[in-house]
């Protein structure tokens, strides 16, 4: 081997990227990891927010994978750039708003730019032919290479033997015979390989790695776009979609109602960005108001918050309304009866 090759592995935090990196690392290649933060990643956010979930240990799976491998991990904030992937995916969406194929291309392209800037030789992903419905079908794989401009500098160690030879194989940096030929949806070969390496306690194989594959989440995202008259979001918006009950009584405003103490604390952090309603006469949740509510809307919102408070059976409840500037006023309203709230309001 004429040089010490260097590879960058896309680390999602799942088992496949762990194994793919390990297979290459074991062949004497210097491997570092990269993880992209899009804002939609499933990384225990609800966990961090909801008090009841905090008893369970929480970890960032990508960091855990890097720790297992003993490699550096670069976590890159791509929140802004990723918006174009979500808004206009060239290859469309999967079952929900998940633009998986475009997302893969985006991440491989970012990884290519990274290796070109730092003199690394190739990129590794944990993709397996035929594992995912869209992005990992055999015909999709060359598309990723072409559109990301990486060509044969992309190695998929778990499926390499089913795919054309790549640069690292041709250069003798890795031995094709020591790579794998996994394909299809079965997870058994990966589990067997994990057992061989002694990896335990890895993140369980899941359907998707982000909230865009979650129907309950994307209903709220679609609603957000509709209400804003276009496909737009900021990081705070997409974070808030993970928290609380989202109730939209009218196109011009919605409420985000905390469900428990952890969410109350989290939403409290947003009181300078959104007007809020807090129960005074009874214990009950905090709610944020998103949009442009009129005075009548604020009163309606107060009745809804009352419905989720301990005073739901009382004739009147009192709440405090606070503007983003911190001006406070009180309202006394009759809590809404559960049956009076149209089902369609709850997103």
């Amino acid at each position: 081997m004429s040089k010490h090759p260097k590879a960058l592995a896309l680390i999602s935090g799942g088992l496949d990227s762990l194994l793919a990196s390990k297979v290459v690392q074991d062949q004497g290649v210097h491997v570092e990891g990269i993880n992209f933060f899009t804002g939609f990643c499933v990384e225990g956010h609800t966990h961090a927010i909801r008090k009841q979930d905090r008893a369970r240990p929480k970890r960032n799976n990508a960091l855990w994978v890097a720790d297992q491998l003993g490699i550096k991990l670069h976590i890159v904030d791509v929140v802004d750039e990723y918006k174009q992937v979500v808004f206009n995916p060239k290859y469309g969406y999967g079952a929900h708003l998940n633009p998986c194929l475009d997302c893969k291309i985006f991440m491989v392209r970012k990884a290519r730019e990274w290796i070109e800037q730092r003199g690394f030789d190739f990129v590794i992903t944990g993709e397996v032919v035929g594992q995912r419905p869209k992005s990992q079908r055999k015909h999709a794989m060359p598309l990723v290479q072409r559109d990301a401009g990486i060509d044969d500098r992309l190695l998929r160690p778990l499926s390499a033997r089913n795919l054309p030879e790549t640069l690292p194989e041709r250069m003798g940096w890795v031995d094709r015979d020591k790579l794998h030929g996994f394909s299809g949806r079965s997870r058994k070969p990966q589990m067997a390989l994990a057992a061989l390496y002694g990896f335990e306690d890895y993140a369980q194989p899941a359907g998707g790695c982000c909230f865009l594959t979650d129907g309950n989440y994307t209903v709220k995202l679609t609603d957000l776009w509709k209400s804003r008259g276009g496909r737009r979001y900021e990081l705070d918006d997409i974070m808030l979609l993970k928290v609380g009950r989202h109730i939209r009584p009218a196109p011009n405003f919605k409420l985000i109602v905390a469900r428990e103490e952890g969410e109350v604390n989290f939403l409290s952090g947003y009181r300078r960005l959104f007007p809020s309603l807090k129960m005074v006469s009874h214990s009950g949740p905090l709610a944020l108001l998103d949009g442009e509510p009129t005075a009548a809307d604020i009163e309606l919102a107060a009745r809804i918050v009352g419905r989720y408070s301990q005073g739901r059976a009382a004739p009147l409840v009192e709440l405090e309304y606070a503007t983003t500037g911190g001006e406070k006023s009180r309202l006394r309203v009759a809590p809404m009866c559960a049956d009076d709230m149209p089902k369609g309001w709850l997103l």
Binding site: N35, F37, C41, E43, G44, H45, H47, A48, I49, R54, P57, K58, R59, N60, A62, L63, W64, A66, D67, G70, I71, K72, L73, H74, I75, V76, D77, M239, N265, F266, G269, Y270
Partner: protein, 80 residues
């Protein structure tokens, strides 16, 4: 050798954003400098030490007070 100390506000940020902020600052700091991240996501008590360990930096102090988590990292010697 003079070392520098920085404190950054990561309140309201959820993991991995605090880790990304720490990473961005550490990249511009010299070996031996220290950085304290003030956070509200308790996940940082796990994630910042894990990130530091694999990237060759050291967590020298962690403190929890009034729902805030303070993690102090000493920048490592660079290429490991």
């Amino acid at each position: 050798m003079t070392t520098h100390h920085r404190t950054i506000d990561c309140l309201r940020l959820l993991c991995p954003m605090p880790v990304i902020r720490v990473q961005e600052h550490v990249e511009t700091m010299a070996a031996g400098d220290t950085l304290t991240a003030v956070c509200s996501d308790p996940g940082v008590l796990h994630d910042i030490p894990a990130w530091s360990r694999i990237n060759g930096h050291q967590v020298v102090a962690t403190e929890t007070r009034d729902g805030e988590y303070l993690v102090t990292v000493r920048v490592g010697p660079g290429e490991v």
